[in-house]
């Protein structure tokens, strides 16, 4: 569907290594951060960075399923809020409640994802609108549940996942629990996407749903699975964020767009057919690196927003340019 690269261009490309620009961007940002703050190469520096990036990276890994399948999931931000508020209400300061509250929250994530998928598949509501509606609904539910202000604390057992460190680890001194969660979840999502039939089917229905159906793909089942995985990632991100920073009633605000941005930075194609979990992970790290770098530069807030916006547009333009060149 895109223009065919002429042979001379193809020869030229062969000499250049085929590397996703998100990794170049990330390397440049990390180099700038180290330049600004040499302490970043210490474990405290990069482990804190990974800990901070974990919720967004997990969210992006889930979002990339929905984007690749040809949709959007705007509901994950308010799902995060609901998970944090709901956890504080359900645990009710009881440390022993964590063992059942965590599965309940993961269940809510799966349930919200399934409902999103069912609405998109059977009510024929475009995913943008279906998940926008879900976003507003979940925000309202979180507000109803909490009465507009947080009503409780999260016990330390619940905050373990987002806050605790495992100390005395050789080489790196310590590993935040959230980084372990990050590696496991992103690893699983990447394996599912790039090593199993499900991943191929997600790509197929995003690229051409009619062809996929004719080829025997159960389009609805795959699409619903994509939303379920995104919902699950939202619940996991919520548990980590609640653990990291405690209860607030607007904790998830803006995360849905950050997750989509991270996926697109990683080269995922809006409207489907193309997407990579590791690259979305790279996109999430790059986005977090932009925030961190702007923190270190100590620029006034309005300037930061200008710079942040410009970097994002430039990065995505770069990704698009590369796609045009490679013709995929």
């Amino acid at each position: 569907m895109t223009d065919r690269a002429d042979p001379s261009g193809a020869r030229e490309r062969r000499r250049l290594p085929q590397i996703n620009p998100v990794w170049v961007l990330l390397a440049a940002l990390i180099a700038a951060i180290i330049f600004m703050n040499p302490g970043f190469v210490e474990p405290t520096g990069y482990m804190n960075f990974l800990k901070r990036a974990a919720p967004l990276a997990i969210l992006a890994a889930g979002q990339v399923y929905v984007i690749t399948s040809g949709g959007f999931d705007l509901s994950v931000g308010s799902l995060i809020t609901l998970v944090v508020v709901g956890s504080s209400m359900l645990t009710n300061n009881d440390p022993a409640a964590t063992y059942w509250v965590v599965p309940v929250m993961l269940g809510i994530g799966v349930g919200v994802g399934a409902i999103n998928g069912l609405i998109v598949c059977f009510l024929r509501v475009p995913s943008l609108i279906a998940t926008l509606g879900m976003m507003i609904t979940l925000n309202g539910l979180a507000f109803l549940w909490s009465g507009g202000a947080p009503r409780g604390y999260l016990p330390d057992t619940f905050r373990f996942f987002g806050r605790e460190l495992i100390r005395d680890v050789p080489l790196v001194r310590f590993i935040p629990v959230s980084v372990i969660v990050l590696v496991v979840v992103v690893g699983l999502f990447a394996w599912l996407m790039h090593r199993t039939n499900l991943g191929r089917q997600v790509h197929a229905i995003g690229d051409n749903p009619v062809a996929a159906r004719l080829a025997g793909v159960a389009v609805n089942r795959v699409r619903i699975t994509a939303f379920v995985l995104s919902g699950l990632s939202g619940a996991i991100a919520g548990i980590l964020l609640g653990g990291f920073a405690g209860v607030s009633t607007d904790v998830g605000t803006g995360y849905e767009l950050q997750a989509i941005t991270a996926a697109v930075l990683g080269g995922a194609q809006l409207l489907g057919g193309r997407g990579s979990v590791p690259a979305a992970f790279g996109g999430a790290l790059a986005l977090t690196a932009i925030f961190t770098l702007l923190n270190f530069l100590g620029l006034p807030q309005p300037v930061r927003q200008v710079v942040q916006g410009l970097i994002l547009i430039a990065a995505v333009a770069l990704a698009m340019h590369r796609r045009k060149q490679t013709g995929t």
Partner: protein, 372 residues
């Protein structure tokens, strides 16, 4: 990247003078500094009916008979401070037989909606007295002037640019808030100590004045201000910012313009393995509890939610024809310190309950405020 850094740096320098206008008024600073020290008049132990400065306005000639209808145009109930304040208000209404009906309209943080709300209330013709908590000062002034022509108006929290209301109720103010926190830091650290200032967002008058007053005192005392950062009131962002600063050097004190994210900032020190420095928070329960549990060196300036009670009391006095402090009713603005911390900590209350609510003696306390 280097070009980018240079370019953004130049941009930053170019834009910097756009900030910090009008919110650093030495006269207002001095006035509020004096008011913090002033003896307040009125019944002891009930700061919500006390006042600083002795001017009174008579209301007997306004000719309103009870029970009357009081209408309240509210800027919003969109943050925990306003949630606590509005609860104070509805509970206070129960105390007054002279208030027959209480009509509340919520502008949901929008100037346009609040202007329309006030006009609707005037057109409806049911109101005898109006209370306004303006969303922003300049935008609401004409609407309040229209209301003044029809009935007695009471304004509280943020002001308006007209003296037509019967009275304007407010605590000492933003400069006072900034002064209390910064003076505490100056008294508790050495000269030249590293102070991190955390702010919610730029451009809000009550927050800008807190910052300018705090900054003035810290600068004059020779403190080394390592940074002044915006947190958007977001816990995760606050914690990340403080962690970043800790990677670059020690922090001896943290000044905040509002306390909602104070606990997240404290956790950044705990989780990075540092001692918790001198802290300025606010009167939210989560901060007060942390302070008590960890034995911090801290202070909690307040912007008391009891002013929402005062607005109802003022409306009742207008109906009953009694004199009330005016045209400005300046309420005392106490800070919570180590000496009186125990009086305000209450684990039964929600984490973002504002302790300086003056509501402990009210009939439905603590249930109506979400306590148990």
């Amino acid at each position: 990247m280097k070009h980018l850094l240079l370019a953004t740096g130049a941009l930053a320098l170019g834009l910097a003078p756009l900030h910090a206008q009008n919110f650093d008024d030495p006269e207002e600073f001095a006035k509020q500094q004096e008011q913090l020290q002033a003896e307040s008049m009125g019944p002891e132990g009930q700061p919500w009916v006390q006042h600083i400065g002795g001017d009174m306005v008579e209301t007997a000639d306004l000719g309103i008979e009870g029970p009357a209808t009081v209408c309240f145009s509210n800027a919003g109930v969109n943050n925990p401070w306003r949630v606590v304040g509005y609860t104070n208000m509805t509970e206070e209404v129960e105390n007054h037989d002279s208030i027959g009906e209480f009509i509340h309209v919520d502008a949901e943080g929008s100037d346009d909606k609040q202007i329309a709300d006030i006009d609707d209330l005037l057109a409806g013709g049911d109101c005898d007295v109006m209370i306004v908590s303006p969303n922003t000062t300049a935008a609401l002034t004409p609407a309040v002037e229209r209301a003044c022509e029809a009935m007695p108006v009471i304004v509280f929290d943020r002001g308006v640019n007209t003296d037509c209301p019967v009275t304007f109720i407010h605590p000492v103010g933003g400069y006072g808030f900034g002064i209390q926190g910064a003076e505490f830091i100056v008294d508790n650290v050495e000269e030249g100590a590293n102070v991190l200032m955390l702010r919610i967002l730029p451009g809000v008058d009550v927050l800008e004045t807190r910052y300018s007053a705090g900054r003035r005192i810290l600068d004059e005392a020779g403190m080394n201000i390592v940074g002044a950062e915006f947190t958007d009131g977001d816990n995760a962002k606050t914690k990340s910012i403080v962690e970043d600063y800790l990677m670059r050097g020690d922090i001896d004190a943290v000044w905040m313009d509002a306390g909602a994210t104070a606990v997240a900032a404290i956790e950044a020190f705990e989780d990075s393995g540092y001692d918790i420095p001198v802290f300025v928070g606010e009167d939210q329960q989560d901060f007060l509890r942390k302070w008590q549990d960890k034995g911090l060196t801290a202070i909690a300036p307040t912007y008391p939610t009891y002013q929402w009670r005062t607005a109802v009391i003022a409306a009742a006095r207008v109906i009953e024809g009694e004199a009330l402090p005016g045209p400005e009713w300046v309420l005392p603005q106490p800070a919570i310190t180590q000496e009186n911390l125990d009086e305000y900590v209450n684990p039964a209350m929600p984490p973002l309950h504002y302790a300086m609510c003056g509501c402990e003696d009210m009939a439905n306390y603590p249930e109506a405020w979400g306590g148990n």
